[in-house]
């Protein structure tokens, strides 16, 4: 089949939204399909948002492709008679974050009109698709709430998950993730003030600015946690990451209200490691179940410390939960075979 995959980008900004397209394209190619990846620049400038959407709407892939798979918003405005959406998020500032105190723009007539136009365009162009998939129940629920559109959850798998596996059960709780405030690495560091056991914490991941990493290092320093916390706050290679997961005690993933389960929890699961997360981490809870393949606690340093200690003291529990983490991935059918079958059906 000739498949065009279309997504939007901000030039020179990488992220999950771009990787999922590359992985999907590579997967389809290995299965013998002809794939064209189409990345279109899109700016979140509210003053030109509607105009830019019109621009995308006027583009045409036409009959050269048997199917168009659209991902990052608003690539789905491209018309195609065989359009399938793998909807990964809204333009959130105009949707669920509109009521958020940190909304960057004023609530005025002009922007309310932009919001209304965006929603109308979304409703019309999403509805014309042959099928709508989302990457999580959280996103699916939003699509129902704001657009009245039903969808099916189609969990994104890891690229080449066989790179991940269990090697040993170490002493470290591992948090691999971009270092950003809403990922809350600070809670993890604070938790280390309260642990009773010799459990350790390792943070890996780059930050967009040095401010947050500096803050984290400061907490470590001021509390004398240098021997307990390793801050590896830079970009690490895929090999280093796989090795870190393979040898950790358990993984941590505690973002605030995340849309999806997040690749770190999936990488941990393929490495047969338990995942500690929090009640308010959103989509992570679709994968991680308390006392099954991990622990779900309150988003406080004390509660986290208790989870760290518990897995340190009870290594069999950590091992067993890790085993079930891998099972859970199978249970949810998070595989490329399933993704390809659904997107091309």
């Amino acid at each position: 089949m000739k498949v065009a995959i279309c997504s939007t980008i901000v030039p020179f900004v990488d992220g999950g939204g771009r990787f999922i397209v590359k992985w999907l394209a590579a997967t389809l190619r290995t299965r013998g399909h002809q794939v064209e990846e189409i990345y279109l620049p899109f700016s979140d400038d509210p003053n030109t948002l509607v105009q830019q959407m019109m621009g995308l709407r006027l583009l045409e892939i036409g009959k050269s492709a048997d199917r168009l798979i659209a991902l990052r918003p608003p690539s789905y405005v491209l018309p195609h008679e065989n359009k399938v959406l793998w909807f990964i998020h809204h333009i959130r500032v105009f949707y669920d974050l509109w009521e958020h105190p940190y909304r960057p723009w004023p609530d005025n007539v002009a922007l309310r009109s932009v919001r209304a136009a965006l929603m109308a365009a979304d409703n019309a162009t999403i509805s014309e698709s042959r099928k709508v998939f989302t990457n999580s129940n959280v996103v699916g629920n939003r699509l129902r709430k704001f657009n009245g559109i039903e969808s099916q959850t189609l969990y994104p798998p890891l690229f080449e998950p066989e790179r991940f596996g269990f090697q040993s059960l170490g002493d470290e709780i591992l948090y691999v993730c971009r270092a950003e405030h809403h990922k809350r690495q600070h809670l993890a560091v604070e938790a280390m003030k309260h642990v009773r056991t010799p459990v350790k914490l390792r943070l890996c991941g780059a930050a967009s600015s040095e401010q947050y990493p500096d803050e984290l290092r400061k907490i470590v320093r001021e509390n004398g946690l240098e021997s307990k916390v390793t801050t590896n706050l830079c970009w690490i290679t895929e090999e280093e990451k796989a090795a870190a997961f393979a040898h950790c005690l358990a993984a941590l993933y505690i973002p605030l209200d995340e849309d999806s389960y997040g690749y770190p929890s999936l990488e941990a699961s393929h490495s047969r490691k338990a995942v500690i997360t929090t009640h308010d981490s959103g989509g992570v809870l679709e994968l991680i179940e308390h006392e099954n393949n991990g622990l779900v606690c309150e988003p406080t340093p004390e509660a986290l410390a208790e989870c760290f200690d518990r897995l340190y003291e009870n290594r069999n529990l950590a091992r067993e939960m890790g085993r079930r983490a891998e099972e859970r991935v199978r249970e949810l059918n998070i595989t490329w075979d399933h993704v390809v079958e659904q997107l091309l059906s």
Binding site: K2, A4, I9, V10, P11, F12, V13, Q34, E36, I38, Y39, L40, P41, F42, S43, D45, T48, Q51, Q52, M54, G55, L56, L58, L59, E60, I61, G62, S64, A65
Partner: protein
């Protein structure tokens, strides 16, 4: 410095321009202090009024987080950016030099007039806004000056991977590579084969621009009963396979109508020490191919082309001599990437 390369795309079709855009991006990325990315904007010209949509679409786009833009083709070069350098590979020729020929989809009616006017005026507005105007050949330069009144500098595109093209001997076939459409006139070669001696073989390899373009060629071969002497390899041709065909050919043939540039097909053939058969109206190709020296330049009709094929087949020593000259010729003019990039970023 963050440099965005802009090109257009016809989904699932790749040709010289795509190759150039990929290589340019890769070469920019290994240039000190530069990060580069390529954006390809889908372009539809059928029916012609869709061109208006494409123009509007590009004008409506916004590019953030980019210091420089290097734009190659219509209509992608219309996307606004305060620091845009144009490296014009060709304009939408159907609105310019091809007007009034049977090779344009813009006929003489009101609708086509509107589309043509929109193309010309959006082109002019874009060219004015560019920091610098480079073109890929003398022909493109002349057209830009004649139709739009803009002067420009010639910047010849280097061959993308010239090391792949190395002579492996002179076989018994003529090779014709490149995109397949009416303008590249592969059909003329097939027709010529009907008049050529029976020992003459032809291989045509490349992506047809449309299904019709491929089907037409197949039909012609069937009608002329040439299937045992003309081999078609239609579709995207991986680099290694293309090089295999070129490197082992007796000579190459490339007969485009008034081509904009010297053409990758020509340059690759020259690197592989192959003489090139082209036509007297092949445009930029004639900058490189000189009759009797590095190839044969013949009239664009089946009899003349068949004469050229016959000459090559019957005089392999001549084909070889011209092929060796071709290699010398390309080595003398061959541009290199680091100078090219210096000029684009100057």
């Amino acid at each position: 410095m963050k440099v965005l390369v802009l090109n257009n795309m016809a989904p699932f079709v790749r040709g010289g321009a795509e190759e150039l855009a990929d290589t340019l991006t890769a070469k920019l990325n290994v240039t000190k202090g530069v990060r580069a990315e390529l954006v390809r904007v889908p372009f539809t010209w059928d029916p012609p009024e869709k061109i208006l949509d494409s123009i509007l679409s590009c004008l409506a786009m916004q590019i953030d987080n980019v210091d420089r833009v290097i734009a190659l083709k219509f209509p992608a070069y219309l996307i606004h950016h305060p620091h845009k350098t144009l490296w014009l590979l060709h304009q939408y020729r159907q609105a310019y030099d091809l007007r009034g020929t049977n090779l344009t989809n813009l006929i003489e009616d009101k609708c086509s007039d509107d589309v043509r006017n929109a193309i010309v005026s959006s082109d002019n507005a874009c060219f004015v806004s560019c920091r610098r105007l480079f073109v890929n050949s003398r022909i493109t330069q002349a057209r830009l000056s004649q139709f739009n009144g803009f002067s420009s500098e010639i910047l010849l595109p280097p061959v993308t991977s010239q090391d792949d093209f190395q002579n492996t001997g002179y076989g018994d076939y003529i090779f014709a590579g490149g995109r397949i459409n009416l303008m590249k006139r592969q059909h003329l070669l097939v027709e010529a084969m009907a008049h050529a001696p029976s020992g003459c073989k032809l291989i045509i390899a490349g992506p047809p621009e449309s299904e019709d373009d491929g089907a037409r060629l197949k039909q012609l071969i069937a009608d002329l009963g040439l299937h045992d002497r003309v081999m078609l390899d239609l579709g995207f041709i991986p680099r290694e396979r293309l090089a295999f065909y070129v490197n082992g050919a007796l000579a190459c043939a490339y007969l485009p109508v008034d081509e904009d540039s010297v053409g990758y097909v020509t340059m690759e053939s020259f690197y592989a020490s192959k003489a090139v058969i082209c036509c007297s109206d092949s445009g930029g190709i004639l900058d490189l191919v000189s009759h009797g020296q590095t190839g044969l330049v013949v009239e664009p009709d089946a009899e003349s082309v068949s004469m050229a094929l016959t000459l090559m087949i019957c005089n392999p020593a001549d084909a070889k001599r011209m092929g060796e000259n071709a290699r010398d010729a390309i080595e003398q003019i061959s541009p290199d990437w680091s100078n090219t990039i210096d000029r684009l970023l100057a």
